[in-house]
Structures are given as structure tokens and as C-alpha cells.
């Protein structure tokens, strides 16, 4: 860990101004906001992040969870993962989010980790997290050690020849299926960014993971109002029973009427370089009768562009089984 300056912000404006002094907002940002610290502090200890200044935003009034005027839900950036997971409205109307959060990390980590921090969670690729190895995400142009290396946990969708790092979050998979929007306050004013447009696939610049610029501070995440009779589910598959990142996961938000699927949202975790929305699967599902054969076709469609690396070929089939099972559970009559 390198020496850094620690400051506390007392207002959102002040935090934005502090953040705006950073030359970049992505990898190696020289100013970093800290909330729960569950990702950032680890990476600083590993020398993978080396900010000169750490701006503590825990004092900002951004922890509230409240219903919005249109009947949706606004989740403050600093709402802890455990608070969101156990919130009665989340449990009632957005079960997929509660299930996703509770499947991730450990109770201790969930008590610290925040909604916005989780949105910005970094990959668990071992080569990213060890400075002894080449990594384009960490050191652009240095090469990708994961390709041809230990990549059992890594991505099969959205990869590039420069990066196959997987996005490890569970929360973000659920938020993708829920079509959340992310409210950002920055030097140029306020923006509301659909989660679908928030993450960047690695391409040739895997060091840039999202659209945030210096000074941009996530202040909240908004969920649209729940459509009537919609059900949702999150299924996470991994080697052990708890406290492990997903090999594959699926978030489903679905409305079935008389056996026919009216609306489906499908997002995948553990297999994509970003939280992975599968419009291909949704198209197969919508307008058709819910049955296992249809679910399997949707799963095939979701994975048709998968490009496995040397060790993670099994994830293609695993993700398909995950989708089929998650759809089966979420469409079972109550």
C-alpha cells in the first residue's frame, strides 16, 4: 500500500469537487471515493490501486431507501447491501435483488458494502490482482495473462483479445434484469444512466470499465415501478455453498399470463465481462408458452456467442442449466 491523503467530505458538491481533481476516473484514479471500502482497500493493499487521495463519503446523506413518485424505488448510493437485501419493499417487489445480495459475500461484508460501491466492484481475475503479472486492465498494453493462464472463473461473454476478466457482482446482475437507472452527480451536472449503458465491455481498453468521469459521484440507483404480476428470481451456481463468486448466475424478471410469457428480462452473472443482459434469451421467451423446452432454447440463444478460454468451457453449459432452472423456478405457479 502506498501513502495517501485521507479526507472526509461533508457535502455531495464538495465530494464532486474533490473527485474532479483526479486526472482519470478509472484504473489508477488519483482520487478515489471510499464508502464501505470492501473492494478499494483490498486493491490498495495489493498496490493495484494507488490513489494519492481517498475521499470518505460515508458522512453524506445518501443512505436512504425510499419509494419514488412514480411508485419505483430509490436506493441511496450509501445504502448498505444488507439494508437493501432486508428492506421490505425490496423483498416484496424486487425479490431478485434481495436474493442476489444475500448470495454474495458474507454478512460482515454486506454490512459494509454499499450499493454504489457494489456497482463499481472490480474483477477477481488473479492476474489483475497481482502486480507481478501483465494485465491490460491494470497496465494498458502490458498483455493479458489470463488468456492461456488460470481462467476457470473468468468470462465467456463480452470478452476481447485483451481481456477476459469477469464482473463478479451479484447485485449488478439483478439490477440489470430490473432495468435500474443510475443517478450521477458530476461537475457537468446530474445524469441518469440506464444500467445497460453504464458498463463498458473491455474491447481494447479494459482499464475503462464504465462511463464515469473524474468527479462523477453515484448518488442513487432507481428501480422502475414493479409491473403487476411480475415475478423474479436469482440463482447462483458455484463450487461451494457460500462466500464464493459465481461460476454462473441468472437473474430473471418475468410476467406470465395464462401460461404465456408476456415480458421477460434475463441477466447473467459470472460469465460476462460486464453484468450481462441477454436480449436474445428475452426474445425467445416473450410471447411463448412457458415450458422447459422454451427455456432451453432461450438458454441456447443467450450463450450462442460464448467464447470460452482454456479452463472455463464448462461454463457455457453451466450457464444454460442456470438459466433453465431460474426460469423454471420463477414461472412455477405459486
Amino acid at each position: 500500500m502506498q501513502t495517501f491523503e485521507y479526507r472526509q467530505s461533508t457535502s455531495v458538491d464538495q465530494a464532486v469537487q474533490a473527485g474532479a481533481r483526479s486526472k482519470r476516473a478509472q484504473q489508477y484514479a488519483d482520487v478515489r471515493f471510499i464508502a464501505g471500502g470492501t473492494t478499494l482497500v483490498d486493491l490498495m493493499k495489493l498496490d493495484v490501486e494507488r490513489p494519492n487521495q481517498v475521499v470518505d463519503i460515508n458522512g453524506l446523506p445518501l443512505a436512504q431507501i425510499k419509494t419514488s413518485a412514480d411508485g419505483g424505488l430509490v436506493i441511496g448510493a450509501l445504502a448498505r447491501n444488507s439494508a437493501v437485501a432486508h428492506h421490505p419493499v425490496v423483498q416484496r417487489d424486487y425479490a431478485v435483488l434481495s436474493l442476489a445480495l444475500l448470495s454474495g459475500a458474507s454478512p460482515q461484508l454486506r454490512n459494509m458494502a454499499t450499493t454504489a460501491g457494489n456497482l463499481l466492484q472490480r474483477t477477481r481475475c488473479v492476474y489483475f490482482r497481482d502486480t507481478a503479472h501483465a494485465c491490460n486492465k491494470r497496465e494498458p498494453g502490458s498483455g493479458c495473462s489470463a488468456i492461456g493462464g488460470h481462467n476457470r472463473m473468468l468470462a465467456i461473454l463480452g470478452t476481447s483479445k485483451d481481456c477476459i476478466a469477469s464482473n463478479p457482482s451479484d447485485q449488478n446482475v439483478a439490477l440489470t434484469a430490473l432495468e435500474a437507472t443510475i443517478q450521477v452527480q458530476g461537475v457537468k451536472g446530474n445524469q441518469s444512466i440506464p444500467i445497460q449503458d453504464f458498463y463498458l465491455k473491455p474491447g481494447s481498453t479494459p482499464n475503462s470499465e464504465n462511463v464515469l468521469e473524474p468527479g462523477d459521484l453515484i448518488v442513487s440507483v432507481t428501480l422502475p415501478p414493479p409491473a403487476p404480476d411480475t415475478r423474479s428470481h436469482y440463482l447462483k451456481l458455484r463450487d461451494r455453498a457460500a462466500y464464493e463468486f459465481a461460476l454462473a448466475s441468472a437473474a430473471i424478471v418475468i410476467k406470465v399470463n395464462g401460461g404465456r410469457i408476456e415480458r421477460a428480462r434475463v441477466a447473467l452473472g459470472g460469465v460476462g465481462t460486464v453484468p450481462w443482459r441477454s436480449r436474445e434469451a428475452e426474445q425467445v421467451l416473450e410471447g411463448h408458452t412457458a415450458d422447459v423446452a422454451l427455456f432451453r432454447r432461450a438458454a441456447e440463444a443467450a450463450l450462442k456467442d460464448a467464447q470460452p478460454a482454456s479452463e472455463n468451457g464448462f461454463k457455457v453449459e453451466l450457464a444454460k442449466r442456470c438459466i433453465v432452472q431460474a426460469l423454471t423456478v420463477s414461472t412455477q405457479s405459486a
Binding site: M1, V126, F245, L247, F314, Q325
Partner: protein, 769 residues
């Protein structure tokens, strides 16, 4: 390390043998075997037990190692100028500037024979190449990151396949014959039923909760080392040689240890680095290993590759058993994983041969891990037995029962106490084995497929030399001192129970002092031998202390027994009385001490190793067990879980049922890790153990722990000590992994011969769905 070598290491041939179990003697009091809660529990649960890294002293400074980022080569240059200019930095040590550290040849056992910074050669990724000492940990850490090391890399090899070509058997470097009887080749050739398969166990890394740490304090003449050690006496012996100072100038203290699993048996190089820095700076130095460092710098269970050939008659008689195994070792040390530990005597067969070979890799030096040799060896043997049972269409429990023997056919001696048959029978009953249907995939629970598997377990039993001092004190308490240590297994409590049994002093009034090399020499906590070793020395010490009390009772003016021959007196439940008279007629021992104006009565205890007892040469001593495992396989989502384990252990008399159960339950969870999760993976491009962290090297969580049912036969072994106790630290792990893979086969039809079982193994074939 062969168990026999370990026994030699603990010194079993020395000293007078203790009394062995007397069949006519009255049984011990109820305290022996009782589930007494650990007496150090309150210290641990309140955070007041101090572990090595918890020691702090005025002026303490911090050492942080710099580690090699190549797997083989030479250091060309070390540039520490930036580090030396950083705030708080006091010293940068490396091979070019460190005071000499030596090898050891005069007894004791080191982990890596090469001391830190011996020369410019790098043998494995992560090897210590320098260390930075600074006023704070953070300063040392930041400075260590700036030390630039230039290397001339050399070719290296971390190939997981151990199929290297070897010189022929018997030639230098060729396979070594470990056991041989009859004619295996011709017996195998003539057998009508054969199994010929190769089994592989991966590198596993010791991950005790408490990582290694040394706090070294140099006082101008003497070193005090606060360590996390499974053997304070050995650590003192070895490190004094490494530092080149007399043994009495090193004291090693390990009051509490957050477990070791073998990884803390012998000193690792960081200990002498901290000591050398302390001497150089004349300041106390703390050096703690990170979890990452644990994967390179403090040992591992080596990878094994074992070809098993079993030949049988169609009715299940074992004609021939061959085990040809290899394990990897480092460039510095020849560490032989004794995979044939249990093979020569577990089943009856006239023709048997075991050979062992070493294959060198650029890895740190391997070291024993819980059940070294036997645990990977039994994975191969018991897997092969399961495959044989299937070929014979015989129930795997029945096959094992039919091949049971009460004679060690290797040594041609009876076992001192072998009850494998009873373990299998009781386990089958508790597990409900009779309800098993043998067809693959035939047992269901809703959408889940159940698999039931079984394996036998074995581990050696032995006893080394030990000394103790036991004081019965006038305030009604007792103190026991012994230079062994409690690595979390319960040694503190077991010793207190013995004092209670012999004196009536309650366990909470017994002060057990362990974990210092300044105490009377006690055993290393390894090989499941510590309990059997210190029990007789504690008994000898307490008997000597009682003798002092009785002598004083007869000699002291105004004593109720003044003038009595001490031999006519005895002590029962803390009361001194005349032999033949009821205990109630006597007076308490502390009253005698008060009358005589004595603070305490001290007895020095000593007991010898098992080998010193001529009777032991007529017997073979081992523990046995049977493991029954249920797995659940959900093919719809490729989910594999171990759901239920029944473990029956024949480990002699159990001294503390609670802690023994705890040991075996913990071993079962460790076995789930061995079966399904654990594997240290070396990146073939650079030799880095790439999953050197707890997100990528996964171990079971509490959610992965199956329903566990542990039973002990609790049959005393008459040979080992007067209680008939053996040891139960390791055997609980033996047999779990092969029982898991047998269960996986039963559920899925996929035979996994290379651990760990991965879900992709079960997805890619025509497994049952």
C-alpha cells in the same frame, strides 16, 4: 516423511518405558473420557489468549520480506536505494549483507534445509530474496514494494504431470522399494479380476486460521522467539543451529497456536530472518506471513501420482497389491510422501509391493500435512478397492470385511488393538448402509441423486519421550509444566484431566503451562503422538509429587501421620490416608503441606518411547476407522454437495470425548475440502502458485459442512500407556476423500481419479441425469 521417521524424530527408542495398561487395574475415574470443556476456552473466546503476532515490546519494529518473482535463476542485482531512503526504514537484508545463517546437522528437523539468503540462487516463486525492516509495518510494506531485484532467469519446471522418466528401481534417483513380499507380478498376471489405475492428489496448502509469525527479541546474548510452532523444543534446537549460537541462548515460546495441520512442525526461514534482524538492530522484530506468503513460504502437501494394481480371484480374494507412487519435491530437499503408510497391512494379501519415487519441481519444500502419506495414499488404495468391489459385484463394506486381518502381514505380528471390522460394522449400522442400492444413480431424493460411498482409514500410533514437572500446591491448586504445546487440539485440558484423575484437584484448579522451550522437554505436536507421549510423563510426575506429599506426611512433626512409613500411606481424591483405611479418614494433601510449611510438592516426571518397551516389538500399533459419505448431485444445475458423513474411529481410549469429536468433525470438513475444493495451481508460464488467496483457493465454509456423526469405539490400546490412549488428530481425515469419490461414482457413474472432484468432471461425460 514416513511415520517411522517421525517416530525416530520424536525419539521413541529412548528412556524407560512407562507402565502399560494393566487389565486388572481399576478403570480411571469418570473424568477420563468426559467431555470436559477446554480450560483455555475463556481465554480464547475473550481474545485474551496471546498468539505469536500478539506480542509487542517497546521499540518493536517490523520486517517485511521481498519475494522472488521468478521460479528459478540467479539474483544479479538488488537495488534497495529507494527503500533505504524511505521514512522509517532501518535495514534491508539480503544475501549480500546478512550475517551468516547456517544449516543444521546436529539433531532436530528443519523445513527447508537452505537457510534464508544463503546465496543468489532462486529455486521457487516467492522465495525470500530480501527483507525490509522499518519502524512500522506500513513503512516496511511500502518500502519492500520498491526494492528492485534483477534476475537471470533459468529454466524451471512446475509441470503437474509427474510422469518424468526415472532411473530404474534400485538405481540412485530411481524408485525405492518401501515394502515387498511374495511375487506381485506373477500373482497380478494370473489374477482373473484386475484393477490397474492411476490416482492423483494435488498440491494442498496448509491454511490454519493463524498464519505464521515470529516476534524475535534479542537481549544482547539470548534470543526469545515468540512463534506459532507445533514443536517448541525442535524449533529451539534447529534455530539455535541456524543462528550459530548455543541452544540455551534461544528460547521459543508458543503459548497458543491457531492450529498448524503439520505446517508448523518445523521452523521456516522467516524465523531466523526475524532473529537476525533483531540482533543486527538490537530491537525486537515482528515478521508476520500474509495469507499469500503461506502458499509459497511455509510448505504444502506435495502432489502425488499413484499407480495401483490389484489382482483378485472372482470370489474376492486379494491375490496381489501393488502401489507405485511418486510425489514432487523441491530442489533443496528430498521429501518423500509416504503414500504406502497403510498399504502393507490394511488388507490381507500374500503378494504386495510398494515403491516410491521423487520428482523435482521448482516449488517450495513440501512438509507434512495432516495424515501425511496415509491420506493421499488411502485415496489411491481405497479408490482402487471401491473399483475392485464394483468389478467383483460385491458390496464395498463386505469386500473390506472379508479382507480384514488381525495380523500385520508386513511385520508378521499381531496388532496391539485393531478393530477395523467393528468400525465398518458400526458405521454401516449408523449410516443405514443396508438400504443402499448398488446401481449407479439408483438412489433419489426429489430431484437430487444420492451417492453413498465408504472407505477405510488408518494412521499410525506411537509414543515418544517426554519430561514434566508437576507441583501440588498448598493453596489447593496444581501446576504442570511441559515443553509441548497445545495447537488447538486440547492438550491443556487433557493434562488437567489427568491431574484431576490422580489427585481429585478439579480441572479449573490445575494450571497447565506449555509452549516454552525452557520447560522440561516435551513432544512435538505431530503424528497424532503428543497425547500418547505426554500422558505417561504427566502421570509419572504427579505420582512423584504425591510421593513427596506422603513422605512429608510421615516425616513432619504434628502431621496426623507423623512417624508413619510413607509406604503405608496413600492419597485418594486429594486426601492422604493410611492404606486400607477409608479416604474419608484422611486429611487433604494441602493441609499436610501447610503443616510442613511447604509451598508445594513437586515431582519430576519422565517417560520413554514405545520402542524402548520390549513388548512393543511383538506388536504392530495403528489406529483404524471407517468413513461413510453421502453426496447429493443435482444434475439440473450441476450442484455437488457432501450431505452426510458417519465416521467411526478406533483410536484407543478417548481422554476427552468433546475434543476428540471436535477433532474428527473438523477433519471431516477438511476432507470435504480435499475431496471437492482444494488445489494449489502453479502457473506453468512462471511457476507462481496463482491461486494464492482465499477467494481462489477455496476451503469449505460452514455451509459446506455436512451432517456429521462421529463415533469412537473407545477401546484402550494396552500397549501405549496406562490409559490406553492413542491419538486422533489425523485419522479423521483419512478415507474421507475416497469415500466422497466412491459416492460420486455411485450417484453419477463418473469415477474421479484426480482430486479435487470438479463439477466439470461430472458435466462432460454421459453422467446420469
Amino acid at each position: 516423511m514416513r511415520f517411522e521417521e517421525f517416530v525416530e524424530f520424536i525419539g521413541s527408542q529412548e528412556g524407560a518405558p512407562p507402565k502399560s495398561l494393566d487389565a486388572n487395574a481399576p478403570p480411571p475415574s469418570a473424568i477420563i473420557g468426559a467431555g470436559v470443556p477446554r480450560i483455555d476456552g475463556p481465554l480464547k473466546t475473550t481474545g485474551s489468549a496471546r498468539y505469536a503476532a500478539d506480542y509487542n515490546f517497546p521499540g518493536l519494529v517490523y520486517a517485511v520480506p521481498v519475494r522472488a518473482t521468478i521460479a528459478s535463476g540467479k539474483i544479479q542485482r538488488i537495488d534497495s536505494s529507494a527503500a533505504e531512503a524511505m521514512p522509517g526504514v532501518l535495514l534491508v537484508m539480503h544475501h549480500g549483507n546478512i550475517m551468516p545463517l547456517y544449516r543444521n546437522a546436529s539433531g532436530g528437523r528443519n523445513s527447508e534445509s537452505r537457510p534464508a539468503f544463503e546465496d543468489e540462487t532462486v529455486y521457487y516463486w516467492g522465495q525470500y530474496v530480501a527483507a525490509v525492516v522499518a519502524e512500522t509495518f506500513e513503512q516496511a510494506q511500502a518500502a519492500a514494494a520498491t526494492v528492485k531485484v534483477e534476475y537471470e532467469p533459468a529454466k524451471f519446471n512446475v509441470d503437474p504431470s509427474l510422469s518424468d522418466s526415472l532411473p530404474p528401481e534400485g538405481e540412485p534417483g530411481g524408485p525405492r522399494v518401501m515394502s515387498n513380499r511374495g511375487n506381485t507380478e506373477s500373482a497380478f498376471a494370473s489374477a482373473l479380476v484386475k484393477v490397474d489405475e492411476t490416482y492423483i492428489t494435488p498440491v494442498e496448502t496448509h491454511n490454519p486460521m493463524e498464519m505464521h509469525a515470529t516476534v524475535a527479541v534479542w537481549d544482547g546474548k539470548k534470543y526469545t522467539l515468540y512463534e506459532s510452532s507445533q514443536g517448541v523444543m525442535n524449533h529451539q534446537n534447529v534455530v539455535s543451529q541456524v543462528l550459530g549460537v548455543p541452544k540455551e541462548n534461544v528460547e521459543v515460546i508458543s503459548r497458543f497456536i491457531g492450529s498448524g495441520f503439520g505446517g508448523k512442525l518445523f521452523p521456516w526461514p522467516h524465523s531466523a530472518i526475524a532473529a537476525a534482524a533483531s540482533r543486527k538492530l538490537n530491537r525486537p522484530v515482528k515478521l508476520t506471513l500474509s495469507r499469500k506468503m503461506m502458499f509459497s513460504n511455509s510448505g504444502h502437501r506435495p502432489r502425488t501420482q499413484q499407480r495401483m494394481r490389484l489382482g483378485a480371484t472372482t470370489d474376492g480374494k486379494l491375490l496381489s497389491l501393488q502401489q507405485n507412487y511418486r510425489n514432487h519435491t523441491s530442489y533443496g530437499d528430498d521429501i518423500r510422501e509416504n503414500c504406502g503408510e497403510a498399504t502393507p497391512f490394511l488388507y490381507s494379501t500374500a503378494n504386495l509391493k510398494v515403491t516410491s519415487a521423487l520428482v523435482r519441481r521448482n516449488v517450495g519444500t513440501p512438509t507434512p500435512m495432516r495424515g501425511p502419506g496415509a491420506v493421499p495414499g488411502l485415496f489411491a488404495l481405497e479408490s482402487a478397492m471401491d473399483e475392485l468391489a464394483i468389478k467383483l459385484k460385491k458390496d464395498p463394506v463386505e469386500l473390506r470385511l472379508s479382507l480384514d486381518t488381525l495380523i500385520d502381514e508386513e511385520k508378521n505380528r499381531p496388532f496391539s488393538s485393531r478393530h477395523l471390522k467393528e468400525c465398518l460394522q458400526l458405521g454401516a449400522e449408523k449410516f443405514g448402509w443396508s438400504r443402499r442400492t448398488p446401481e449407479v444413480g439408483s438412489m433419489r431424493k426429489g430431484d437430487l441423486i444420492l451417492g453413498w460411498g465408504v472407505a477405510a482409514a488408518s494412521w499410525g500410533a506411537n509414543r515418544g519421550v517426554c519430561e514434566t514437572e508437576v507441583s501440588l500446591r498448598a493453596d489447593g491448586t496444581a501446576r504442570v509444566g511441559c515443553g509441548t504445546q497445545d495447537i488447538g487440539t486440547g492438550s491443556y485440558t487433557v493434562i488437567a484431566q489427568v491431574i484431576t484423575d490422580k489427585t481429585g484437584i478439579p480441572v479449573d484448579k490445575v494450571d497447565v503451562v506449555l509452549g516454552s522451550s525452557a520447560l522440561p522437554p516435551g513432544p512435538t505436536s505431530g503424528g497424532s503422538t503428543a497425547t500418547a507421549t505426554f500422558l505417561p510423563a504427566v502421570i509419572d510426575g504427579v505420582n512423584a509429587a504425591i510421593k513427596v506429599v506422603l513422605t512429608v506426611a510421615g516425616n513432619t512433626k504434628d502431621s496426623p501421620f507423623e512417624g508413619k512409613d510413607p509406604n503405608s500411606l496413600t492419597m485418594t481424591a486429594g486426601r492422604v490416608h493410611e492404606k486400607g483405611a477409608p479416604a474419608a479418614s484422611g486429611v487433604s494433601y494441602n493441609e499436610i503441606l501447610h503443616i510442613a510449611n511447604l509451598a508445594s510438592a513437586r515431582g519430576d516426571g519422565k517417560s520413554g518411547g514405545l520402542g524402548a518397551d520390549p513388548k512393543s516389538h511383538n506388536f504392530s500399533t495403528h489406529s483404524f476407522g471407517a468413513q461413510f459419505v453421502e453426496i447429493e448431485w443435482d444434475p439440473g444445475i450441476a450442484r455437488l454437495r457432501v450431505s452426510r458423513v458417519v465416521s467411526v474411529i478406533d483410536g484407543g481410549r478417548i481422554i476427552n470425548m468433546r475434543m476428540a469429536t471436535n477433532q474428527v468433525a473438523g477433519a471431516i470438513v477438511m476432507g470435504v475440502g480435499m475431496g471437492l475444493f482444494e488445489e494449489t495451481i502453479y502457473d506453468p508460464r512462471n511457476g507462481h502458485p496463482i491461486n494464492d488467496n482465499f477467494a481462489d483457493y477455496i476451503v469449505p465454509t460452514i455451509a459446506d459442512a455436512p451432517q456429521i456423526d462421529v463415533h469412537f469405539l473407545d477401546i484402550p490400546d494396552p500397549l501405549l500407556n496406562e490409559y490406553g490412549a492413542r491419538g486422533i488428530g489425523e485419522i479423521g481425515l483419512a478415507g474421507i476423500a475416497p469415500a466422497i469419490t466412491a459416492a460420486v461414482y455411485h450417484a453419477t457413474g463418473v469415477r474421479v481419479r484426480e482430486l479435487p472432484v470438479r463439477i466439470e468432471d461430472l458435466m462432460k461425460t454421459n453422467a446420469v441425469t
